[in-house]
Symmetry: C2
Subunit: 180 residues, 2 copies
Amino acid sequence: MNFCSNCGSPVASKIPAGDHLPRFVCTNCGTIHYKNPLLVLGCVPQWQGRILLCRRAIQPRLGFWTVPAGFMENGETLQAAAARECQEEALAKVEVGSLLAVVSVTHANQVHVMFRAQLSRPEFAPGPESLEVALYEEAAVPWGDLAFPSGEFTLRQYFADRAAGREDHHFTELNRPLRP
Amino acid sequence: MNFCSNCGSPVASKIPAGDHLPRFVCTNCGTIHYKNPLLVLGCVPQWQGRILLCRRAIQPRLGFWTVPAGFMENGETLQAAAARECQEEALAKVEVGSLLAVVSVTHANQVHVMFRAQLSRPEFAPGPESLEVALYEEAAVPWGDLAFPSGEFTLRQYFADRAAGREDHHFTELNRPLRP
């Protein structure tokens, strides 16, 4: 951040009065510009025991597999965001179910929230951000070709819970950059 | 938003290629400036059956009571944010427990995430953003003087779960402005 989005003047990094962290503060109008974590919403859609994964057509991690997920938009609920991302990336309609995983991705200033979901019908196809979309049996999940650690955490918890006949939710922190 | 935070030129609201929502786009360098929901983290700290509330010293809702909560910062986990807010607003140390409430506050573009928590010791005092901090029995909670609907939802779920001997988590959407 170089300039104030309010008045266009340069900003400087300093700790505002009463605050404890450096912020970008406008040198002209004094507006304080906060930077906060972004929410990424996703789901694990299932159909007759198989789960839906998308192969990414965009960076980062182009060509690797992911659960359908993306940035939450203003004005939507968590569940609506998860369903919309599945619609966009896999052209698939889902019923969003129980909370599955909440991952604080601290190195990226993101919080990933993943739900279980049920495909409304076995219809799906790659959206603009996907190369392929496919249903996977647990034994066929491409663990070595997953795009993101949060997705791997999500899927491992999903299958562990399913084996145990439960639907828990799971917190974790991931604080490591992506593999190159 | 009026100016690009990257180059200082004016921005215009338009739908970028491949997108479906209007964004602020720089008329000079083309940077797309996304606006996304903010996370508010809080907790219901308890001590020997009573819960800790704070009376707000700042706007909005100055003078009304709230669970300790505030904006999550970059680089922290959800639980760390909830504990930090309690430290700042109530000068109280807590052990953060189970997930209690997730509230999509769509009219404010916020997501409020509330946990159960245990006061580490019965020591607390008003931080700079609080007028008073006090432990309340359930029957004494000032329901008519609560600051925010998300806090009321959180507390009602908290006491209902406690009465039932469970620790569930609860989703809801709140889409109405504050009372004046």
